[in-house]
């Protein structure tokens, strides 16, 4: 499975989410690298540090994209935002060794649009004055929030370019498409009043994995689910969070996504409780269907303060909780593989089931 690819490979028609054999068919000279999420995370964080040195208003959009609000930073950096960004990109290439694209504009919508204009290593500026004319020639699909379905709907109404939207009355658009119509009206002329807000609290914490070959057996899925539960739990513990909702996600061989959720009586951050809720849901779903993906997530997040209270009847819950916390301490000291459950350990010896 191709998770991402360089721009040269893209010229040959390689796309992300493409099966590897197809990608190699299209581009036989491609070099295939296994993903190293830890490394990406580390580099991503280093870059974020550098962004935060420019402005406190950094809103991460994904692991490698972020909005920066540079309003009012000229005095601080003794340079215009364009100069500040140019220096930032140059330092990024020389110090970290990666290239990036920049889009500079008066608001988030136009900035994102600008950054996509000239990839890779692009540097585009859309000024407030020229927004209208730049947008006019673009297809409606470039507007944030207009997906495939909505695009088809607009297409049926004869609207294909943003320029066409600019000529339609705001009230008319609202009547036709409701609240999203109002958004179309303002975005089509380059108006967007969303602010760059660094606080975008997580709504859920989850982890999933795609298999190299589809799996139907409950016994094979179980250790994988446990492993994912431990990952989710580790992230919850690290950020001082807990949650009441546990969601199991499965994708069948036919690409149908199945999600099943369970609501817990108390918020939890323990791998043990996340896993046991997940496995009870999995038990009902593992009915012989073949799955290509499994994932588990915790939602309905709150602080860890009231998480995992002592239970009156289940005395062993308290013991399991202490055992898990002891394992956590060992892992902190000696690394994740220092201590493992028999369940995941046995499964990992014969591993090879995960797709790269």
């Amino acid at each position: 499975m191709v998770s991402t690819c360089c721009y040269i490979a893209r010229i040959y028609g390689v796309r992300s989410a493409m099966p590897m054999f197809k990608a190699l068919e299209a581009c036989p000279d491609a070099v295939v690298l296994r993903p190293d999420m830890e490394k990406y995370g580390k580099v991503g964080r280093a870059i974020r540090e550098r962004m935060l040195a420019l402005t406190p208003l950094v809103e991460p959009l994904s692991i490698d994209e972020a909005f920066l609000d540079l309003t009012g930073t000229e005095r601080l950096h003794k340079a215009t935002p364009a100069e500040t960004l140019a220096k930032f990109i140059r330092d990024l290439e020389s110090d970290v060794g990666i290239t990036a694209s920049v889009g500079l504009a008066p608001n988030k919508f136009l900035a994102k649009l600008a950054s996509d204009l000239e990839k890779p290593r692009g540097f585009s500026v859309i000024g407030a004055g020229e927004a209208r004319s730049v947008l006019a020639g673009m297809p409606v699909g470039r507007i944030w929030g207009v997906g495939k379905v909505f695009q088809t709907k607009l297409d049926r109404d004869g609207i294909r370019t943003i320029g066409q939207l600019q000529t339609i009355d705001k009230a008319d658009l609202a009547r036709r498409y409701g609240s999203i119509g109002l958004r179309l009206a303002s975005l089509s002329v380059g108006e967007d009043n969303r602010v760059v807000s660094p606080e975008r609290g997580a709504k859920s914490v989850s982890s999933e994995t795609t298999f190299r070959t589809d799996i139907s057996s409950f016994e094979t899925l179980r250790p994988i689910l446990r492993d994912l539960s431990e990952k989710v739990s580790a992230r919850l513990k690290k950020s001082g969070l807990s949650g009441r909702g546990v969601t199991l996600k499965l994708k069948t061989a036919e690409f149908r996504t199945v999600t099943r959720a369970r609501h817990l009586a108390d918020p939890t951050q323990l791998a043990d409780r996340i896993y046991s809720a997940g496995v009870s849901l999995l038990e009902k779903e593992a009915d012989g269907r073949r799955f290509r993906l499994i994932g588990i997530g915790v939602s309905d997040l709150e602080t860890a303060e009231q998480a995992d209270p002592q239970d009156l009847v289940d005395q062993s819950a308290e013991r399991r909780k202490h055992a898990e916390l002891a394992i956590d301490r060992l892992r902190d000291k000696f690394g994740k593989s220092a201590v493992e459950l028999g369940l995941t350990h046995v499964a990992k010896r014969g591993d090879g089931s995960r797709r790269s």
């Binding site: 369970r262 817990l264 009586a265 046991s276 809720a277 009870s280 709150e302 303060e305 009231q306 209270p309 002592q310 239970d311 009156l312 009847v313 289940d314 005395q315």
Partner: protein
């Protein structure tokens, strides 16, 4: 089938039986109520395969027979018919619909064959004994709130009924817990209960029994085996499966050595808890009780909205103690206490607390504290 009966009788009975029928059913016949007319009566029966209620009402039967019709719709029809009217139920000649007539109203309902209607075979009952409706209501009312809704712990999804030999003779005891709180109530055991197996009655069944027993003086016959329970009162027979599981050894949960005693006026306490908890968020609901000699201060802090505090005079002379509880749970328990004074037996801020009536000792509650 053709039968004529009083709307009042029919409605009362349908009110009882239609509740058993789930709103959504994958098996169509389970949405229906079975009607069987015979001799001088009409028999109504509804089931969800775990619970079944059968009730007999007097009727003038011209043509004996049986059929099934959608329970909720039938109930709604009868409910809206004029008070005091007579209802005629008659199957049409092609045997596909049931006609319901009252006054100038006329309805037809699609039928499903009564032969498809499932039967909850009761099997043999090993024990049988009478109990007053009042006693059963007391056992249920006192413990019901503590039943767990957690599906994974299905064995806590009901009330555990069993007998115990106490100092005051054999007792028939009910216990329910959800891991946060535990409620226990007992009445003197009737002789027939001796040697009965401990059984877990599911939450839905508990609720239905509670609704059937309106008159506390009424006599109720209980029959049970390891897998089923049957309650007979008047012309109503309720049969239910039991939860197939082992109820935990709850005796270990009830604290024995809690040496700090606190006595408080039940109503004063209840009202104070209710008042201060107004400020708590939907979730948190933690109320802090700060105990010092002769007084208790209740505090709720909600970082989003503010705080509340109230002082209540208590009987307390142990060392000062701060302990937090879920305010909803405190109210649930206070609502079940029958004497004017509540007795709290505490150990420390992290251990289960025992709550009882000061004078009566036929019920007790255990509550797990919250971190505050």
């Amino acid at each position: 089938m053709k039968a004529t009966l009083e709307r009042t009788d029919l409605l009362k009975s349908l009110t009882h039986v239609h509740r058993v029928v789930e709103r959504r059913n994958t098996i169509p016949i389970l949405s229906n109520v079975l009607l069987r007319s015979d001799g001088g009566s009409l028999n109504l029966k509804a089931t969800d395969l775990d619970l079944e209620i059968v009730e007999t009402v007097p009727a003038m039967v011209e043509l004996p027979g049986a059929t099934t019709v959608p329970a909720h719709m039938f109930y709604d029809i009868v409910r809206k018919l004029p008070d005091g009217s007579q209802v005629v139920l008659e199957t049409t000649s092609d045997n596909s619909t049931l006609e319901i007539r009252a006054g100038r109203s006329r309805f037809t309902l699609q039928m499903l064959p009564e032969t498809d209607f499932p039967d909850l075979t009761a099997g043999e009952f090993s024990h049988g004994f009478p109990l007053t409706a009042g006693d059963i209501r007391k056992l249920i009312d006192t413990t019901q709130f503590a039943i767990s809704t957690e599906e994974t712990r299905y064995y806590l999804n009901g009330i555990y009924l069993h007998t115990v030999d106490a100092g005051n003779g054999q007792q028939f005891r009910a216990v329910a817990t959800d891991g946060h709180r535990l409620a226990q109530a007992e009445v003197p055991a009737p002789s027939g209960a001796s040697g009965m197996p401990g059984i877990i009655v599911p939450r839905k069944t508990v609720g239905e029994i509670q609704k059937l027993l309106e008159d506390p003086e009424a006599n109720v016959q209980i029959e049970l085996s390891e897998t089923k329970i049957r309650i007979t009162t008047g012309s109503i027979i309720l049969t239910s499966k039991l939860i197939d599981g082992t109820f935990p050894d709850y005796g270990r949960v009830i604290p024995q050595g809690n040496d700090k005693e606190m006595r408080v006026d039940r109503d004063e306490f209840k009202e104070a808890v209710d008042r201060v908890s107004t400020i708590s968020s939907e979730r948190g609901r933690a109320v802090k009780l700060s105990l010092t000699e002769g007084r208790m201060v209740l505090t709720v802090n909600n970082p989003d909205s503010g705080s509340a505090t109230e002082e209540v005079a208590v009987e307390y002379d142990a060392e000062p103690l701060e302990i937090g509880f879920n305010s909803r749970y405190l109210l649930d328990i206070a609502n079940q206490l029958s004497s004017d004074t509540a007795l709290f037996r505490l150990a420390d801020s992290g251990s289960p607390t025992l709550i009882q009536d000061n004078t009566v000792d036929d019920c007790l509650f255990v509550l797990m504290p919250m971190r505050v």
